[in-house]
């Protein structure tokens, strides 16, 4: 459960940096295609977004796992929930990372 607290604190710090960086640009402008692509190509910033994605995925799916474990108990059910949440977490991280990788390998 320490991972839950740790990811939450780290995510709050990094999301704050992310919001501050967005504030340097106009909101509408920051969402323009070229601007988004430029952000993804700037490796330190893209790396931070990737870390936020990982932190929030771990935090979110662990939270979901905890809620599901509290709703019902049983060895098989608990195993299925734990493995299911880890699988869903990995799938989300892979899907999110795909965008950054595509941009940086020139697939856009």
């Amino acid at each position: 459960m320490k991972i839950h607290y740790g990811t939450a604190l780290a995510a709050v710090a990094l999301v704050a940096v992310h919001i501050l960086m967005r504030l340097t640009q106009g909101f509408a402008e920051s969402l323009e295609y070229d601007s988004v692509i430029a952000n993804y190509k700037f490796i330190p910033y893209a790396g931070m977004l990737e870390i936020i994605l990982i932190l929030l995925s771990i935090h979110g799916f662990n939270g979901l796992r905890v809620i599901l474990l509290e709703l019902k108990q049983g060895k098989t059910y608990e195993k299925a929930v734990s493995y299911g949440c880890v699988a869903a977490m990995i799938a989300l991280i892979v899907y999110g990372s795909r965008t950054i990788i595509m941009v940086n390998t020139g697939m856009t």
Binding site: M1, V66, E70, Q73
Partner: protein, 255 residues
């Protein structure tokens, strides 16, 4: 022999007589025969010092001897007579009818415990979780072999845990806990408060063992800090605070 004569004396006592009376609603349920709980009502006279337990025993003695209830000391020491009284977990021997300010007193078995019959519930889970957290001082040496003959403790060190030593294992905290209602594997506020009691004891060396036991998917982290455990404790123990302090140990803020 003395016990037999006192029992005979108790059985032959006359019914309570008073100007005031209440309706005592007792939940009746036998898991072997009944599909649902039903309530039986009894009109019981009471004095301002009459406790709910005395009212239930009045029913047993003079109106319906088949009511199942567990009790022993009648002075809030043994922790046997926990039940839901007018919707709140309380000790029947420690609750006066006059302080409930109601003409109808409803008594039900404690929540989150399997029912044996009527007001009597099974305590196995409570005792199992209590034993699980090793509720005793753990250390390699003993008081006999040390030169000082006893493990000295300052008043400040004693203050850290002394209130948690007042636990009588009545189960009211577990009955009030919302997590206990949904998580059948949750270790519960009683056991967690006892884990804190021994972890905070300066004489104890079993902290790491205990922290490992409660750092489980159904352990200390399942507490949502509703605080109802502390509200219902008849001995003034604050399990919710104990759990938060214990989390401090888990996260390394305390040592």
């Amino acid at each position: 022999m003395a016990q037999t004569s006192s029992l005979a004396e108790e059985n032959s006592s006359t019914p309570l007589s008073s100007q005031q009376s209440i309706i005592l609603r007792i939940a009746r349920y036998n898991p072997e025969h009944d599909s649902a709980k039903k309530f039986m009502e009894f009109n019981i006279p009471y004095e301002k010092w009459t406790t709910v337990l005395e009212a239930i025993l009045e029913v047993k003695k003079h109106l319906d001897h088949s009511v199942a209830v567990r009790y022993s000391c009648r002075q809030a020491t043994c922790g046997s007579c926990g039940m839901i009284i007018n919707g709140k977990p309380r000790l029947a021997c420690f609750t006066k009818i006059s302080e409930l300010n109601s003409n109808i007193i409803t008594v039900e078995p404690m929540n989150n415990f399997p029912i044996i019959r009527d007001l009597a519930v099974k305590f196995e889970r409570l005792f199992d979780t209590h034993h699980k957290v090793k509720p005793y001082i753990i250390r390699d040496d003993t008081e006999i072999t040390t030169s000082t003959k006893e493990f000295l403790q300052s008043p400040e060190e004693l203050e850290k845990y002394i209130q948690f030593s007042n636990c009588i294992k009545c189960g009211l905290c577990n009955s009030a806990c919302p997590t206990m209602a949904t998580d059948s594997s949750f270790v519960g506020p009683q056991a967690l408060a006892q884990a804190y009691r021994y972890v905070a004891d300066s004489r104890d060396k079993g902290k790491d063992d205990r922290l490992k036991i409660i750092d489980d998917s159904h352990g200390i982290w399942r507490c949502h800090f509703a605080g109802s455990c502390s509200q219902v404790c008849p001995k003034g123990v604050d399990p919710a605070m104990g759990i938060q302090l214990l989390r401090g140990y888990m996260l390394g803020f305390r040592s």
